[in-house]
């Protein structure tokens, strides 16, 4: 074991060294797209020359993402606890939760810049980026507790609150920490995106935006590397903390009882309908309240009603609708194509992972690192390499869906006990039979989960590419509308992109339920 681990480490180091050497040669020779990929030494030299610029920008980004991370997580954990204590509240807030999960940060950034001032848009976008991940990790962690320990507390007259305090919260800490780990890079991405869309003098996003026109690839790569480093470090900090802590929290024996979610069917039809109404209207109520609370004039800040007016009641409505539909016509096909390609690739690779485990072992760390890369900082680099055509959009979409889907699928297959995986082999099954009987059924539920989870990312990827590179679709519409001060359109694009990803999410969910029920499988959250 120790030996194979060291040899794995050695191999990784060797691969890294080879990669850097190839990178250096390719970069020095200007082989890729006429110097779009500079050598590592050139990037580092540029970083050294620019060293005076970085501290201010880094500090601004770290400050905004740190504050947003803190605020977002405090809210998320409090919400998670409240949801677990009151399933009714969870159901009421489902619409809001899904909307926050689904909102492509790039579409929200201009709105936040319009309605808030100073650091607030950056902090808010960072907080929004962490909320959903941490909240759902908290709910999952608090829900999967040892029912026998809870019985014990109850046997001494303890109620729900004491069970929460003595059993569930401490038991949920590993889950919450792994939530924080995944959320941390999201905060950095959120802060950079808001910097990108909203003026100000400091921040890596601002720096990147200012450097776009200078035609200096080494500078862009430098900023991309620094942003990735910050996001990666924030991930690593929580990875270390959680591996330190989770040593003592694993349950000593396996608990087989799943805690029942009380109250799912405790109400009559009419009350259930009422809750559903609340679920759907609440996001719109919050949107409306947000505008009223910030006190921004109607001209700039559109309420749900304002957006409706803009799209259907004004003189210019027909033109606005035309622009929107044209943009959707450009964005959706490419987003769908990229997603399907990314997911299919991830699925194929994951189900065949049992055939070449060595490759997967080496590849997983790479996949994990890409998860932490701030997309917005990388897009300009891809544009440098791939140009401004559709291929850049497609590649970005494929990569943002492929990596998370792959990680999820592999982890799903890894949950199947080795003995189950080995069983067909023991009866002399061929590799294909084994795959058909075990790997594919094991991975299928995770494929659906991955599809649902990557919809907003795919939309975000396409829109960033459109904004920065191709000048088409929703991303471009958003960018142009900012220039023309077409506030109605900014709000419309934001609302439509959120609604769209919620709609696709539910569409996948319905297909998923049907399919899995027919195959007699369970869906995963």
């Amino acid at each position: 074991m120790g030996n194979s681990l060291t040899s794995l480490r050695l191999k990784s180091v060797r691969n890294l060294v080879i990669l850097i050497i190839v990178w250096e040669i390719v970069g020095r020779m200007d082989w890729i797209a006429g110097g779009a990929l500079p050598g590592l030494s050139e990037i580092l030299t540029r970083l050294w020359i620019d060293r005076g610029d970085y501290p201010g920008h880094i500090w601004a980004t770290v400050y905004a993402s740190g504050l947003g991370f803190l605020i977002g997580n405090v809210l998320a954990i409090a919400a998670g606890i409240a949801f677990v204590l009151s399933p009714t509240l969870l159901r009421l807030m489902r619409g809001v939760n899904i909307a926050i999960f689904a909102l492509p940060p790039i579409a929200i950034a201009p709105i936040l810049v319009l309605t808030l001032s100073g650091m607030a848009p950056r902090v808010t976008l960072a907080a929004l980026g962490v909320y959903f991940v941490t909240m759902s990790a908290t709910v999952i962690g608090l829900s999967q507790y040892d029912t026998r320990s809870a019985d014990l507390v109850r046997a001494y007259g303890g109620g729900n609150w004491l069970i929460l305090k003595l059993v569930r919260i401490r038991g949920a800490i590993p889950d919450i920490l792994s939530g924080l780990r995944i959320a941390a890079p999201n905060a950095v991405l959120g802060a950079i995106l808001a910097e990108f869309g909203g003026g100000g003098r400091w921040g890596l996003g601002t720096y990147l935006l200012g450097s776009l026109g200078r035609g200096d690839p080494a500078r862009l790569w430098g900023i991309g590397l620094v942003a990735t480093l910050i996001a990666g470090l924030s991930y690593a900090i929580f990875a270390v903390i959680s591996s330190r802590i989770s040593g003592s929290t694993r349950s000593v024996t396996l608990n087989t009882a799943i805690p029942s979610s009380h109250g799912e069917n405790a109400y009559g039809r009419s009350i259930q309908a009422l809750i559903l109404c609340g679920t759907i209207t609440l996001p719109f109520v919050l949107w409306w309240a947000f505008i009223k609370l910030t006190g921004v004039p109607d001209l700039i800040a559109k309420t749900p009603h304002g957006v409706f007016e803009y799209l259907f009641l004004n003189d210019t409505s027909a033109i606005a609708r035309g622009k929107l539909l044209a943009a959707l016509g450009q964005t959706l096909p490419i987003a769908a194509l990229g997603m399907i390609a990314g997911l299919a690739f991830a699925f194929l690779l994951a189900i065949s992972s049992r055939m070449f485990p060595g490759f997967i072992k080496g590849f997983m760390p790479v996949a994990l690192v890409t998860q932490t890369m701030p997309l917005v900082a990388l897009t300009p680099l891809l544009v440098l390499i791939l140009g401004r055509g559709y291929s850049v959009t497609l590649w970005i979409t494929i990569s943002v869906t492929f990596f998370p889907a792959f990680v999820l699928l592999v982890q799903g297959i890894q949950r199947v006990p080795q003995s189950v995986l080995d069983l067909p082999r023991a009866y002399g099954a061929s590799a294909w039979t084994e795959m058909r009987m075990v790997s594919i059924p094991a991975a299928l539920p995770y494929l659906f989960a991955a599809t649902r989870l990557t919809v907003p990312r795919a939309l975000l990827g396409v829109m960033i590419a459109e904004w920065l590179a191709t000048g088409t679709g929703l991303g471009n519409l958003l960018n142009r509308s900012r220039g023309y001060l077409d506030y109605g359109m900014i709000w419309t694009v934001a609302a439509v992109s959120v609604l769209l990803s919620v709609a696709i999410y539910y569409l996948v969910l319905i297909v998923e339920r049907r399919t899995l029920v027919r195959l007699g499988m369970q869906n995963v959250e």
Binding site: L152, R154, G158, V252
Partner: protein, 257 residues
């Protein structure tokens, strides 16, 4: 008939689990009377409702009909008042708490000042033979040691009524015998009313004043056998002919002969 304040009293208790499609009549017209300070063993085939009866008596599970009284109180009043102590089949220790802190858990639930009980905690840990392991985490103990922690925990509140659901299920035969002897000693010192759910007939006879036999479908009491042996009982009893005769008699009832 004047009602006596019995230790544990279940009268014509009915309890049906309603699952998806099928219903299980876990208890039907279940009667159980345990005199204060007595030791009762509850025995029966797997799935006959032993655990259900205990969970009903602890207020962990509601019931459909009948009456349940613990020291003259409802289960809810009794548990919240610290009258009861409980040890489950699984030790159910919190993995992040030390042995001493796990033993102290019921005190915390009942809102008592844990710091005032440090002497009792140490004494109980010593009693179950775990002296020196006060600060160990459950993950560092063997299955049998964890079980003993859970016994110590069930005694920390000096309960009037003690419930045990197969507390020695995870132990080997020799350890089990040792723990039986230990439990008898501990119980005779505490003077509590004890209800022990078990699968071992010899264990039931060795420890109990009365052995209550249950059958399944629906879960009900089919026989109550008094155990005549004088206390304190010596481990030699396990090889006593009268002991074997009683074991055979209970086995017959258990298997429905």
């Amino acid at each position: 008939m004047p009602r006596q304040p019995a230790g544990i009293s279940l009268r014509s208790v009915g309890k049906t689990y309603r699952g998806r499609g099928k219903t299980v009549e876990a208890l039907k017209d279940m009667n159980l009377e345990c005199a204060p300070g007595s030791f009762t063993a509850l025995i029966g085939p797997s799935g006959c409702g032993k655990s259900t009866a205990m969970r009903v008596a602890l207020g962990l599970e509601g019931f459909d009909s009948g009456e349940v009284l613990i020291s003259g109180q409802t289960p809810g009043q009794a548990t919240a008042g610290g009258v009861t102590g409980v040890a489950f089949q699984d030790a159910a220790l919190l993995p992040w708490r030390s042995v001493a802190k796990n033993v102290a858990l019921p005190l915390e639930v009942l809102g008592r000042d844990v710091s005032k009980f440090s002497a009792e905690i140490a004494q109980l840990i010593d009693l179950v033979g775990l002296k020196g392991y006060e600060n160990a985490l459950p993950g560092e103990l063997s299955g049998g040691m964890r079980q003993r922690v859970s016994i110590a925990r069930s005694l920390i509140t000096s309960p009037e009524v003690l419930f045990m659901d197969e507390p020695f299920g995870a132990l080997d035969q020799i350890r089990r015998r040792q723990m039986n002897v230990e439990l008898q000693r501990i119980w005779s010192e505490t003077k509590s009313t004890a209800l022990l759910v078990t699968h071992g007939i010899d264990e039931a006879i060795f420890l109990a004043d009365q052995v209550v036999v249950m059958h399944a479908d629906p879960g009900r009491v089919v026989d109550i056998i008094d155990v005549p042996f004088a206390r304190p009982r010596h481990p030699d009893l396990f090889s006593n002919p009268e002991f074997h005769a009683l074991t055979d008699r209970i086995a017959k009832v258990l298997h429905g002969e």
